[in-house]
Symmetry: C2
Subunit: 334 residues, 2 copies
């Protein structure tokens, strides 16, 4: 997807650009400058000393994509990437299969672009999330079943109607958008890489793309640190990737989700095998946490850092606490 | 509050700073660099061509403080300003009287700073907003009555306990934080001022501080445009400032609020007289809009720009539509 002989920008060139995910556009699959959703990304990286104490690590930061523009989750990044690809490819309708957050991001960005959107969601989603999609006026279809059923339906629809389903036939473009979170973390740390990153996992794509982003920054000479150890977090009620890491196997065993963390409840994760490999390959590990510990972690994050996260964020912090309790971070980490 | 002979930064100096409200710190009432909430501000300014068409103006932008860090409203700015002042003044407890959004911002930023917080709210607030405060673990007190009753109580408490109530005894610092929205608008327009700005009004402070900010940028030689005409928007169920503008009087007639736009429902606005003067003085005007038109505007904003606003944002767009319908923006405006 890259043009040949792409020149990557220097730290100073990047610093002079507007604070959005597009300041790293040379690493995204576009020629020239994207025309849509140009103000997405560059969310705060929040120093969290009291949480660091709780985890027994020297330093800890929270990447707060809950204040992402426009729809308050990291899915804004991947949709900004995919919707520009859709327009460049001449597609006139976009859509997605979603556990909630992606639905919000697609509906919001399609509305702004003036594109019709078809959004497919499981019928058990939280009402507040459904409202947060419906308000933008997309074609919204609730499918009886879990995310994996919704996703299968979208594969068939993308073929039949020639729609740009962002996480199906535009998945190559979509996934690359996730890398910008990694680029931002590095820049916000003063062009350093963290030694360990704990990542919420649904389909497993974000973790693999962070891994890729850190590698690309090293390849471009923008950072010189070792690749971070990558750790995953899932809810126990939907933890096929964690089970794969623990078992040491090479094949995902699908699971029927049963957790309050609906936005990460994907029972048959498309990138699960690759995420597990990235965790093992970097010396990381993966945790599965109870719904009770997710709720406790939401409260802990709010009380110690002033960030009110959704269940996926609660699972991430609960996972970090569980991994710390297992001694997985070692002694001198940050 | 300013030190003597303060030197203001150039456009280039500002551009080189981190994207937060503190890139304009020389215009805020602090010596040196604030230590708390350093990553608040610099929210997107969104070009909204389809809304511009609806209003019959050449250009229209939406300043989206609904993605403000950490608590999703512009109140993060004023609290970031006030909490740094509280610490500089040696106060060890912060608090506020709030219609909801300020409560969230104080609770979130106090939690992050490790300061105890006392938050006072009317007892009829939306449950979702109350949860969004309570999660941070403040001392949360629901007061039977409207905001104006809550505010009177806080004046007495600030005196008795020596607490830093951000919108009472820290109001001088608090209000200045609002100016950063004006600075951002100017910088994001390439150091131009808009010709007209429509502002939601509760206590009336934001409108007067935007006016001040635009004037300070002109004084500093950073912009050379005329002062923007300032327009206000309120819900009809709580519109004492609009009534003052319409009547041409000089005294607020308090009103008992009755509107779904609770976050701007202040019946006896502290800065109402000054806001009315700023609107009249710049050639602007003020609108009061029905709850029905607020709901319609929330939907219109979502469908045309991909931004899901709360009722206060709906009132702002509904007000802009009403003012456009009255021909208040003239012919050649943007």
């Amino acid at each position: 997807m890259y043009p040949t002989a792409r020149r990557f920008p220097s730290r100073a060139e990047i610093a002079a650009r507007a604070p959005s995910m597009w300041r790293y556009r040379e690493w995204l699959p576009f020629e020239g400058t994207p025309t849509l959703s140009q103000d997405t990304g560059f969310t705060p990286l929040v120093d969290a000393p009291r949480l660091a104490d709780k985890l027994g690590v020297a330093k800890l930061w929270i990447k707060n994509d809950a204040v992402s523009h426009p729809s308050l989750s990291f899915k804004d990044r991947v949709v900004a990437s995919a919707i520009n690809a859709a327009v460049a490819l001449g597609l006139d309708t976009v859509g997605c299969a979603s556990t909630g957050n992606l639905a919000n991001a697609v509906a919001a960005q399609a509305a702004r672009a003036g594109l019709p959107a078809w959004i497919f969601i499981p019928d058990n989603l939280e009402q507040a999330k459904v409202l947060g999609t419906a308000v933008y006026g997309p074609n919204l279809v609730r499918v009886r079943g879990h995310y994996d059923d919704v996703n299968r339906l979208c594969v068939q629809l993308a073929d039949r109607f020639g729609w740009g389903i962002v996480n199906v036939n535009l998945r190559g473009y979509y996934g690359e958008g996730s890398k910008t979170m990694g680029f931002e973390i590095a820049e916000q740390l003063g062009w350093r890489l963290p030694t360990a990153v704990v990542v919420p996992m649904a389909g497993g794509s974000l973790l693999t793309k962070l891994h890729k982003a850190f590698g690309e920054l090293r390849d471009a000479g923008l950072v010189s640190d070792e690749a971070p150890r990558l750790y995953g977090a899932q809810a126990s009620g939907c933890s096929p990737i964690t089970r794969l890491v623990e078992s040491g196997g090479e094949t995902i065993v699908p699971q029927v989700p049963n957790t309050i963390a609906k936005s990460i409840a994907i029972g048959n994760p498309a990138d699960g095998v690759f995420a597990a490999r990235a965790m093992r390959g970097t010396g990381g590990w993966s945790a599965a946490v109870s719904d009770e510990s997710i709720i406790a972690a939401i409260r802990l994050l709010a009380e110690t850092t002033g960030i009110f996260t959704e269940t996926a964020g609660g699972a991430t912090l609960a996972g970090a606490l569980a991994l710390a309790g297992q001694g997985r971070f070692g002694k001198d980490d940050d």
